[in-house]
Symmetry: D2
Subunit: 410 residues, 4 copies
Amino acid sequence: MTGDLIGGQVEDNNVNFLAISPPSPVSMSCPEKVEAAVDLIIKAERPLVVVGKGAAYAQAEDVINQLVEMTQLPVLPTPMGKGVVPDDSPLCISAARSKALQEADVILLLGARLNWMLHFAAPPRFSSKVKIIQVDICPEEMGNNSASGVALPGDVGVVVSQIVKNIKSRSVQFKFSADSLWWSLLRKKIEANVQNVQAMSNDNSVPLNYYAAFSEVQRAIPKDCIIVNEGSNTMDIGRTMLPNIFPRHRLDAGTFGTMGVGVGFAIAAAIYCRDHWPNKRVVSVQGDSAFGFSGMEIETIARYHLPVVIIIFNNNGISYGIKEDTWENAKKAGDLFITVPPTSLQPNTRYEKLIEAFGGKGYFAKTKEELRKSLQSALKDQTPSIINVMIDPGAQRKTQEFFWLTKSNL
Amino acid sequence: MTGDLIGGQVEDNNVNFLAISPPSPVSMSCPEKVEAAVDLIIKAERPLVVVGKGAAYAQAEDVINQLVEMTQLPVLPTPMGKGVVPDDSPLCISAARSKALQEADVILLLGARLNWMLHFAAPPRFSSKVKIIQVDICPEEMGNNSASGVALPGDVGVVVSQIVKNIKSRSVQFKFSADSLWWSLLRKKIEANVQNVQAMSNDNSVPLNYYAAFSEVQRAIPKDCIIVNEGSNTMDIGRTMLPNIFPRHRLDAGTFGTMGVGVGFAIAAAIYCRDHWPNKRVVSVQGDSAFGFSGMEIETIARYHLPVVIIIFNNNGISYGIKEDTWENAKKAGDLFITVPPTSLQPNTRYEKLIEAFGGKGYFAKTKEELRKSLQSALKDQTPSIINVMIDPGAQRKTQEFFWLTKSNL
Amino acid sequence: MTGDLIGGQVEDNNVNFLAISPPSPVSMSCPEKVEAAVDLIIKAERPLVVVGKGAAYAQAEDVINQLVEMTQLPVLPTPMGKGVVPDDSPLCISAARSKALQEADVILLLGARLNWMLHFAAPPRFSSKVKIIQVDICPEEMGNNSASGVALPGDVGVVVSQIVKNIKSRSVQFKFSADSLWWSLLRKKIEANVQNVQAMSNDNSVPLNYYAAFSEVQRAIPKDCIIVNEGSNTMDIGRTMLPNIFPRHRLDAGTFGTMGVGVGFAIAAAIYCRDHWPNKRVVSVQGDSAFGFSGMEIETIARYHLPVVIIIFNNNGISYGIKEDTWENAKKAGDLFITVPPTSLQPNTRYEKLIEAFGGKGYFAKTKEELRKSLQSALKDQTPSIINVMIDPGAQRKTQEFFWLTKSNL
Amino acid sequence: MTGDLIGGQVEDNNVNFLAISPPSPVSMSCPEKVEAAVDLIIKAERPLVVVGKGAAYAQAEDVINQLVEMTQLPVLPTPMGKGVVPDDSPLCISAARSKALQEADVILLLGARLNWMLHFAAPPRFSSKVKIIQVDICPEEMGNNSASGVALPGDVGVVVSQIVKNIKSRSVQFKFSADSLWWSLLRKKIEANVQNVQAMSNDNSVPLNYYAAFSEVQRAIPKDCIIVNEGSNTMDIGRTMLPNIFPRHRLDAGTFGTMGVGVGFAIAAAIYCRDHWPNKRVVSVQGDSAFGFSGMEIETIARYHLPVVIIIFNNNGISYGIKEDTWENAKKAGDLFITVPPTSLQPNTRYEKLIEAFGGKGYFAKTKEELRKSLQSALKDQTPSIINVMIDPGAQRKTQEFFWLTKSNL
């Protein structure tokens, strides 16, 4: 765009306003197929509802909550589907995600895709006998990585209404028993994981581990804030440690896993809030590597006085556990290019100074207490801010049962 | 593909047979929208049902015929939608196509797209006030070139069933009156056009005009044969002169208007018939220019003894009315490159000899009688054949009300 | 292009004639490099000059003939480089091609590329110790598949002049001895191959083998005709059996090996001859498979009365030696699709009838005598013609020492 | 690249070292064309030598300096060709660029392209009668935007040697007279421009104008430092204000004018210097908008302790002269999005703090004296540094005779 175009002015009545496109048409599924799907759900021994971002985009939260409360089915959200059913609902079994996916015999998939985010629905991450009921706006998704089950194309909200109506129309009202073996297995797994996470969260060692830092963030931020979350470990662990109570209140890298999206997402969310939700705050939790991709865009945040709080989990990049003395020795020996992995970032970067260059407020936190006070101060204030939290370069996620890209036939 | 791959052999049990994809999911429309659509139809003064190839692909003929017979609505097929409602039905108003499209106030569009084949639904070819009810498998088509009306996404057959059910559920049964002004206007237009065509068909001048030649073809070919039809005038006029009684029995260039597809279509249709409809014949009517694109593929027809009858309407290419003496004079003067348009083909080519080179039978026809006898002989026999019919190079379509690509804002 | 554009007319003075681009700049090589190249040539024990189509395009024939006659170096043309040095020159060692390439210790490469046409200059088709002097207009070609030797970028004619001048400037005049071991080895190989070919050419069995048919063609056609030659075996064997005495008188598939180019090449050559060389004829020798790709374009040859002779070497397609009785049995059993390889064409196609459809003359030849008479008649006449020569479906090239795509590290 | 690949180790003898490609072949021009070119030069009344980056890449500086000193021809470098002939040579007429290009009758173009950088060689920026001698490695460049003149394809150094040799071989030695009208016109123009620039350089107003700031930079930096220079006005004015005495010592956006290349260029140059020229410094002068594109990469500079000095010419982005009070008022009125052009950056950004975040040294300069002291300190030290120089947002280039993209037929 040329400069005169960017800086030009035009009279309102010289603007050619285009008619907006008509509202999206709403499609629904055949009653026979809905009947077949409900039959599957009712007969299931280990049923599971998976809620994807398609359900959030379709604004289908009311009818989905009606369905799961009526049936007491266990619910698992995908990262961007979090909040459609509140993360603090007793039906939400995120803390038993691996087990739930692996042992479910019938999955009701609401607006989620069977790509690598859901392990291609393939063993060993899924049961080879699982039947999947796909509810999706896009007919071409049906049968992708899942030949069996029932295909329910259509608007997620409308199709779930069809399911609810079908269940209600039956003579015997269906409710999945809280005393079932499946619920007791899931509850047991959840408890174990909660304890595991609790232990790590309680660890006050400095530098902090991810769980300890996240537990402070979780406690401090408003329940209704917009959470932007990106990075590698920072995003993965943030998906479990930062609960969403409302739908469409979380932005992360989603399906493609792209790094560098955080600051842009935060700007977009803040402008939306300014116009629609003036009382909501935007909190962006980012790994230091991820932040580096587009960190300069904090200038835009500062320029328009957007009250964004950026929290950088700073473990010196993808440093494979390399500590400061390695750096010191390498520097003395003059072989930084050889000794230090090229994915590492310089240790102890003071990211909080960056926002100061643009007139914002910077905070530096090594301990839980410093983090807590920084959060309180930053959230009380409307000034753009960065909280730079030092994370142990050797810290990792809790031990995982599967390698993250596990697929049987790779 | 390498030669050893093409000529190789493999044991059956070494073949990795892939599971076929599950049947396409069936989607339907919301009852509220179906209600709104039926309201529109009932209140219409000049309603029209347009049947596209999507309706044929969806195999929705039974329920569509049920709808139009029940309601007595006038029906217009697109070229590849011909035969869903039989062309000889009294409801089919193809002979009044331009008038019907131009004056209809409500159009029920079944599996057809509003592209140039339907003049972008724009004036002057359509009324500026027409309301269009779009029934289509593809939600993205909704609102294309038509913002008003009702969007009914879903499987054409299922959605038409919803429409039929809604109409039946109403207290007063809807039927569009045969005595309406609309029907009398359409009937009058049809009669005028039929007479017009009849006059041209009766013209026995040699070389023949298109209508005279087509009337012989129409009379001779079996009602259930597969009609392949391509070219420019040859395809356009063939769309009106060769009726289809059954759905999915016509192949032409369709939406893209590509030339050179005829021989390939004929081969595909003949192989399908060999396996599924051994009593049906394939008849391919092609312009000489169109045939030239891929005429050599008659070798494949001959190689596998496919009983295809190719009828070439030979007007010496796109010759702009240039006659033989122009050619003779140009040849004598040695300026063929300058005098004769580069789109013209050599006059009086004996295309029938081409099939003889491959062991088939060739026929040459200048008069109606020669054409009639050639058709009788070719259809009695199972040998691949070409009938080379000489058409007057100056012959054209009957006068059209609109230029074929008419669009108001072009 | 729209019809009105094609058929329109415009006044000469309304045409915007563009200035033609300036003549290509001429570049030459450094004297030091030319010196180094001549040093290599003089010290070589088994030198070879390879002449490519770049030499023909550069119109460098005079100075190249001056060089090779002065030095008596053995010369090998690439297919499109044939005729730069006449194929009947005693210096031309095409009949010992494989041996020459394989044992040469220094190659002077004039306008040819080291791609698969020259076996990537790699063992076992080339000596691992060969030094290649590359003369090429394109600097980026230097070092391609050949790291050693000397790079002489520039116009082929100018650089060869530099070489000639350098050789002449030396105190002792260089001439490669006819009594050298290298020349005696090459001559011995040539004699053996000539006898081998002679034996096959003398075979009068019907259907004819390739060599027998080509020997008749070679005898009949004028020495100065433009030879178009395409196909698989038909082109490969035609490269050795149809000599070129003049440069730029042969058109074949060249580097890319594309089939279906023959008829188009023949049309282009005939139009060029009409305007520049009215006494020269165009003779196109094509395999039947290759002809099928664009055979319909003979309509253009006929339309403009271009005096082209097309000779089709008809072995029933790529039939892997399948004979007529296989076809007959398959036809009876109704399993043509299974028994006959999909690359085979129908046996005994009468291609000569195709040209008759367009008013040309067709000839059918099974024996040498029929072929001879057909050629005499076709060449005497100016009418477009096709000679359909039946070739034994089991006929092949003479035994080759290497598989044609041989490359050591494939 | 996967993490294990990045972090992995391999034994030296398991590495497959590829042979490096042979040195580029050297081509030269025909003696006849060189003769014609020298004829043109000798007869010229207003000759000009233009030295492009191709001459720098070809390392042709010695022979080019020999040519121009011998002939006393005026020389004009392109931005990346600066230093081939030292900018402080009396033959260098950069300060009269527009006049020289516009009035030259013969241009010897050494390794430069006639694209928009040289105004497509079209009027009114060039004389319509100019004859251009193109010396270029790429034959396809010949005749681009310049049909007349002489084409000398080949290596710039070798072709200039041919020119020198040709001139020397002539009976009367050619030297372009210092008393010529052309030289006196050029010298007069240079003087006027130098005075003009001097006046702006002497202006001590705060904030500084570009020329005042550049004059301080010019004085402070070592003559042999590598100058990186990018931005809009910052780069354009830097091309005239920062002289190069050595070839290949300047990196800017070059032909494509891309912004955001500066930090990357500085890193590359610093790594090269570390290995080859340990005593040379890298100084990068960048506009603030340009710096913002990739400013975060200063982390890499800091991580590897590269002694780069970045000087940011900070005029608050492309702010069209907007001052601080506009910002303040807009902030109070809450209409920053409307009032301030979207290309503006926040005023008074403290870029020097960014490098402090990574452990480097930051400097802030509003006056000449502050700039001078900052430069002294930064250059004395080996620590990575940023000097943030405040520039008047309303400052511009000196008045130009032509709009920068002037082309007669645009």
